[in-house]
Symmetry: C2
Subunit: 424 residues, 2 copies
Amino acid sequence: MTDYREMWAELGLDLERHDALLQALGSMYGSIYLSQENRPKAMDYFDFVLGEIHGLRVQELMDHKAKGGKVVGLYCVFVPEDLIMAAGAIPVGLCAGTQFSVPDAEEVLPRNTCALIKSSFGFKLGRICPYLEASDFVVGETTCDGKKKMYEILGEYHPMYVMEVPQKKTALGRALFLDELQGLKGKLEMETGVSITAEKLAEATSLVDGKRRALQRLQNARKGRPTPISGLDALLVSQISFYDDIARFTEKVNALCEELEARVGRREGPFPADAPRILVSGSPMSAPNWKLHRVIEESGAVVVGEESCVGTRYFSYLTGKSDGRLESRLKAIADRQLETHCACFTPNDERLEDILELASGWAADGVVHYTLQFCHTFANEAVKVERALAKENIPLLRIESDYSDEDTGQLKTRVEAFLEMIRR
Amino acid sequence: MTDYREMWAELGLDLERHDALLQALGSMYGSIYLSQENRPKAMDYFDFVLGEIHGLRVQELMDHKAKGGKVVGLYCVFVPEDLIMAAGAIPVGLCAGTQFSVPDAEEVLPRNTCALIKSSFGFKLGRICPYLEASDFVVGETTCDGKKKMYEILGEYHPMYVMEVPQKKTALGRALFLDELQGLKGKLEMETGVSITAEKLAEATSLVDGKRRALQRLQNARKGRPTPISGLDALLVSQISFYDDIARFTEKVNALCEELEARVGRREGPFPADAPRILVSGSPMSAPNWKLHRVIEESGAVVVGEESCVGTRYFSYLTGKSDGRLESRLKAIADRQLETHCACFTPNDERLEDILELASGWAADGVVHYTLQFCHTFANEAVKVERALAKENIPLLRIESDYSDEDTGQLKTRVEAFLEMIRR
């Protein structure tokens, strides 16, 4: 294993705490992931990437910076990767998924904030996220009150740029979002010195759509019975999609899909064909937030899909046609981003339709609705999800959780009871 | 006292629970308000209005409806009363401030929701708010995640219309808000059958600005030392401003101000001149949420201002000039509403300036920042308020609370310790 300590020191990381983080992560990964049986061979690559989580990829970013390139951090799928790439910058999803950094954040932020936000902010205070430290600036968005206001405080510690996401999909709301993309384009051009052209944007959008297509293909393979891949492994692939090199990642996902499609043909998978099939829906799960999937799959069920920003909301829609001009390409990107059926919108009934469609298309025996504690948008939408699923007689388990391990036992009990109900 | 039971029954109220609510409210009001000493004589009117909280005013609304008029409910200062009035409808702030209705709401809404939202929604489920039942529809807004998503669920029980408030004050954000006012105008015209003209709107804006001027005058009188009115009484006036008849209310507030100004001249007030002067800032306090003011004033300090939507954020700005045409008048209203320095905006640094200005202008000895538990926007902004006040050496106490009485003892202890620190 390469020694990255010099690079981490250069980035200003707190090396001692960072060591402790990597050690905790490694042992967690070992016990959750490497203990799984009958994994696809092509998961080797993703194991390698996870093993190198703060190493090789950060080195690539640093090499890019050494050549004068920029790195742009982000926390949310509404920030368009292709626009960032068209400026010759590398977009990278930032660290956000662990209890490890939550106590740091609670020194400043309100405790009644969701774990994802606290974890993100804590990584900055604790100086333990090399991606954040490597990023020239972070692009935030206004998708929830907690992040929107956290970004203001984060701005006192790190260069920030916040773009507005509208709350209603009116014509003016769409125009506002397009205007925000124009603003981001200006910011990117200023920071990188690169002019974003229609050609560069077309190329970047094509790369991102290629990644989305590969992830769609992976999701499609999960229809198999038995499903050819565990939910844990599929979730990991989605998590890695936010920070890996896009061309390499797309190729590796497609290679994985080939193996999975062959497995489907052979009726082979990590779980028996009659294992209960679960759709997980709700708040996003950043790496290493594997708690719920672990509990579900250790209880003998298999997760066949994530209706989540780290899941279908990220890759279900491709960019629509444009007339080729820059304006038109930007508008196509804006329209695509607004097809993300996030609970930040009011109303957001398309998400209910998505859940029903995924539940039926993937032959799910039940839905587990996952809400990060204090996430108002998804917590309220759970009420509507419950009513929509009840109408279709699809069993639902509503889970609210954070990143701590305190409720794991209780989660297990509830999930097991839910599965028992389903099996009857 | 008139018997309104027939009217309440007609409105479909749960009479038994409603009786219990009024009884609890009456006894609370007696012990908190009527026990105060040396109150302005002109508070008699507001005592009367509070005593008739679900009586006379509701009767007036019903009389208006009997003549074919409409009643439009609202929960937030971003909804423009004048636009509603210009359609010949009566705007009315809805019930929201009591623990009484919170358990009802918790049957449906996430428990980790702020008390104001739970109380509002609980009033509907429990059928105990005559204003809500009398309203032909409710105009909601997107000022926070909790309300935004609660409105979707409330829409399953009551006619709703939701307007978007932008999150950044960009040119497009302002255009979007103006467009939302146009949309609301169309909705009002459709519901009332009344055409909103420039003249009607001018008249309505002038009435609302008159109310705002009266409240500004009241706030100004609180500069006196001793301040001529308790914070509890001033808060009550602000709370009543949301549902009383506007012309009568304005007249009564001006009468109160005359008395207060005479008191200031005589150096007369309910508290000694050396009582610590406190500015309360933060989440709004709907009637009967009097908990914090009560604790502060029973501890011997006096509240000299509320930097709150039930306070200065409601009345500090008047409507700017227009060229007289309808479009221009609407734009003036949109611009004025966006001068509400609510934590829903990012950034919202004007609010920090407001707090500093109020603290110095009203010679506050300290600021108590009040956050409703689970109110992400104000809870996060408290961090910035704390930093801004520390720079100016203004003492700050951060309080997070709900509508229950469980923390009253703890609040008292913290407030007393704060006052002791100030007095030193």
